[in-house]
């Protein structure tokens, strides 16, 4: 009995301490406020009842954290250029926003580069955004939720703040890359888990079936990411991580499909696959860049410089940008590689070529920057300009909708997979 009394007393003291003293994580407060601003409760939440009386018998409660790790700044992902209107749009998957900068932005300063506009907030319907594309004719910018809301959202160039999208287009879960073909009036979307590219009408909205899909065992699509519709050469170019497994519906809304012949998963090298621009169905690629000489390593965003017949790749896995000849095929070595400590390339996800101004842009996920190089730069070269979304010394936490954790008591470490 004495033991119980002592335990109760100790627990009450501890409870007071926990409940009243730990309130010193201001950065988390900022991050939480940002997240709450964007993910405010929908109307359905307000329809539920008040806190039930049964909660009184439940232990724990509204306990403040003693420590927290979160990034209060944007983290860049996809990038798109509109040289005609002197704009650059970069997606931010950390706080679910889209930042629009002047094309000539950036410099050598350690300070934050102010965007022209930042589209952000619950009304924008942005989740964990990935690819970006811009429409210089209709003055629209597109981004896609790779997670947390399966849709492409489209905004006018004038959109700013907590803006409602001009339209939304539902797409399959895990869609990543976007590319417009304005001459054809089409939008291409890559989807990781389906190993597919969907083609929609440019103006498609809401629940519209794709007009065609590149999907199937022969396509060579394996965890596709970046995509470009190259209208000059009538091709679709796709970057692939190299992961493949067959798709079987997995949600609780879908029946188990036992009729499907089992094909085990596999790891293949990363690749770039090229298809006719009218491809539809289980189409073999016209060309595939793949192999040890390519140095491809988690190829993310890509861009095609149709004028100079080149393909630029954000090569996330080794902190580089690779440039291939557009018509390369097989185990081809890149013709240029921007790589090394002077480049400040850290976890590149987006890349875009500006032939008008002879520049190449890189969006880093691994730190808080986008970098501007001369188009033909190669080797360990410093960028011409740096666009910063955080002060130069700011750390990058690197979370993307993490949904698991483990604790390692030997090293005293918290492990978090994205």
């Amino acid at each position: 009995m004495l033991r119980k009394i002592l335990f109760v007393a100790a627990a009450l003291v501890l409870s007071y301490f926990v409940g009243s003293r730990f309130d010193f994580v201001p950065i988390l407060k900022t991050a939480t406020a940002l997240a709450q601003g964007q993910r405010s409760l929908s109307s359905r939440d307000s329809k539920s009842g008040s806190r039930p009386a049964a909660d009184a018998s439940i232990g724990g409660g509204d306990i403040a954290p003693i420590r927290a790790v979160a990034d209060p700044y944007p983290v860049f992902d996809g990038i798109a250029l509109d040289p005609a209107n002197n704009l650059v749009a970069i997606s931010d998957e950390n706080h679910h926003s889209l930042l629009v900068y002047d094309r000539a932005s950036g410099g050598k300063s350690d300070a934050v580069t102010e965007p022209r506009r930042r589209i952000m907030g619950a009304a924008t319907e942005m989740g964990f955004v990935a690819g970006v594309t811009m429409d210089p004719e209709h003055h629209e910018v597109y981004t896609v939720n790779n997670d947390s809301g399966d849709q492409v959202t489209v905004y006018s160039y004038q959109s700013d703040g907590n803006a409602v999208p001009a339209r939304r287009l539902f797409v399959p879960h895990q869609s990543w890359g976007l590319s417009l073909a304005l001459g054809r009036g089409e939008l291409a979307v890559t989807t990781q888990e389906l190993n597919a590219v969907e083609i929609y009408s440019r103006t498609a909205k809401d629940l519209t079936k794709p007009s065609r899909q590149i999907v199937g065992m022969d396509t060579g699509l394996e965890d596709p990411h970046g995509v470009v519709m190259d209208e000059r050469h009538n091709e679709i170019v796709v970057s692939n991580h190299g992961n493949w497994t067959q798709f079987r519906p997995y949600t609780n809304y879908d029946p188990l499909n036992l009729d499907q012949k089992y094909v085990p998963g596999r790891f293949d090298p990363a690749s770039i696959t090229v298809y006719p621009i009218t491809a539809n169905g289980n189409v073999k690629p016209e060309r595939t860049i793949q192999g040890a000489h390519t140095a491809l390593n988690w190829a993310m965003g890509i861009d095609v410089d149709a004028q100079h017949d080149e393909i630029a790749v954000a090569n996330y896995g080794d902190d580089s940008v690779l440039v291939f000849k557009r018509d390369d095929n097989g185990d081809a070595a890149p013709i240029r590689r921007i790589y090394g400590p002077n480049t400040h390339i850290v976890g590149p996800v987006g890349v875009a070529v500006d032939t008008k101004n002879n520049e190449l842009w890189v969006a880093n996920y691994g730190d808080h920057t986008a970098l501007v190089f001369s188009r033909t730069d190669s080797g360990n070269v410093a960028p011409k300009r740096i666009v910063r979304n955080a002060p130069a010394e700011a750390a990058t936490c690197g979370f993307t909708n993490a949904s698991a954790a483990a604790y390692d008591p030997k090293r005293g470490e918290i492990l978090v997979p994205n």
């Binding site: 335990f7 627990a11 409870s15 926990v18 409940g19 994580v25 201001p26 950065i27 991050a31 997240a35 359905r44 939440d45 539920s48 806190r51 039930p52 049964a54 439940i58 232990g59 409660g61 509204d62 306990i63 403040a64 954290p65 927290a68 790790v69 979160a70 990034d71 399966d150 539902f170 399959p172 879960h173 895990q174 989807t191 888990e193 389906l194 629940l207 999907v215 992961n243 497994t245 079987r248 519906p249 089992y262 085990p264 998963g265 596999r266 790891f267 990363a270 936490c397 690197g398 979370f399 949904s403 698991a404 483990a406 604790y407 008591p409 005293g412 470490e413 492990l415 978090v416 997979p417």
Partner: protein
């Protein structure tokens, strides 16, 4: 971005990881909805949904280090594994695969194209979208968290650790009182027999617009709003997600024994949970905040606390 980040236990604020594991050679992919650390053998385990594989890394792995073991191939049965738990006592790995509606069990040290030693799968098992697995070697139980087609099958299915084939769960913790509608990682503290669940939302997850590569014929955003309404929730709507704690012997539509939730907790949509019993801490990984929070709750790791709570003595503020 697919990566495993290692943070110092005392990290606080906007802090970079001490170590990052990422790159082509690691074989990691997105959708790593589970991981587990094997303390006695100093290894951790990760499922690879997009390549149908299970990876084993040394405890201190970083950079572009390749896995030391890979389970993948035609004998494995793996389609799209999303979650994993290790039982270092019985040297077994439990792998949840929602695409196969199954939990596969492998030897802990399996490598290559190997068949599972047991497979839980079938209508009696009620396994559908397996979102989490946890194993309790003390009570000899396997816990599979899942989203089922109804509230009655959306929750925790508890099996004997050694169950094999199409076996009914011995207990199901599910129903409106659990508020466990949309959740991911589940972990167990075997010492005091408690199950921790990272609940992302108190509302049932609606259908996605696509089923495979086809538009879902009955999908409409407005209909999804309707679908959410049938999951009546008595929970305070001021927060969406929470960490819930159940007893390993719970069964039926029972509320959590304890929760961490509310504005002060700053939890929005926690999808991951890990335990540090040595320091009395619970770690919640939160996709809503895009970060993680650590809670000091040493009482949660004490049997006396749970005994007193069961008798109506509440020790919390």
């Amino acid at each position: 971005m697919p990566r495993v980040s290692a943070f110092a236990r005392l990290a606080n604020g906007a802090v970079a990881p001490k170590r990052i594991l990422e790159g082509q050679a690691t074989h990691l992919s997105r959708t790593m909805h589970g991981m587990d650390f094997d303390v006695p053998h100093d290894e951790f385990f990760i499922p690879v949904a997009l390549s149908g594989a299970v990876l084993t890394f040394p405890g201190g792995a970083g950079g572009s280090e390749p896995p030391k073991r890979v389970i993948q191939g035609s004998k494995t049965g793996l389609v799209r594994p999303q979650t994993i738990a290790v039982d270092p006592v019985h040297d077994e790995l439990f792998v949840g695969d929602p695409s196969a509606r199954a939990v596969y069990v492998f030897h802990r040290t399996d490598n290559g194209n190997v068949a599972p030693i047991r497979v839980l799968q079938g209508t009696k098992s009620k396994l559908v979208e397996v979102t989490s697995v946890a194993v309790d070697p003390v009570h000899d139980l396997l816990i599979a968290g899942q989203r089922g087609p109804t509230p009655q099958t959306t929750g925790l299915l508890i099996f004997k650790r050694t169950d094999n084939g199409d076996v009914a769960p011995r207990a199901i913790i599910a129903g409106p009182k659990t508020r466990m509608y949309h959740f991911r990682q589940v972990v167990v503290d075997p010492k005091v027999g408690k199950i921790y669940v990272a609940v992302q939302d108190i509302w049932y997850k609606p259908a996605a617009p696509y089923a495979s590569s086809n538009v879902r014929s009955d999908f409409a955003a407005e209909k999804n709003e309707e679908a959410l309404k049938w999951t009546t929730s008595p929970f305070d709507p001021s927060t969406k997600g929470f960490i819930g704690v159940w007893d390993i012997h719970d069964d039926g539509d029972v509320p959590p024994r304890a929760v961490i939730r509310g504005p002060e907790s700053r939890l929005l949509e926690p999808g991951g949970v890990a335990l540090d019993p040595g320091h009395g801490e619970v770690i919640a990984v939160d996709g809503g905040v895009n970060g993680y929070q650590v809670y000091l709750v040493p009482q949660f790791f004490q049997s006396e606390f749970w005994s007193l709570l069961a008798h109506g003595l509440r020790l919390q503020p």
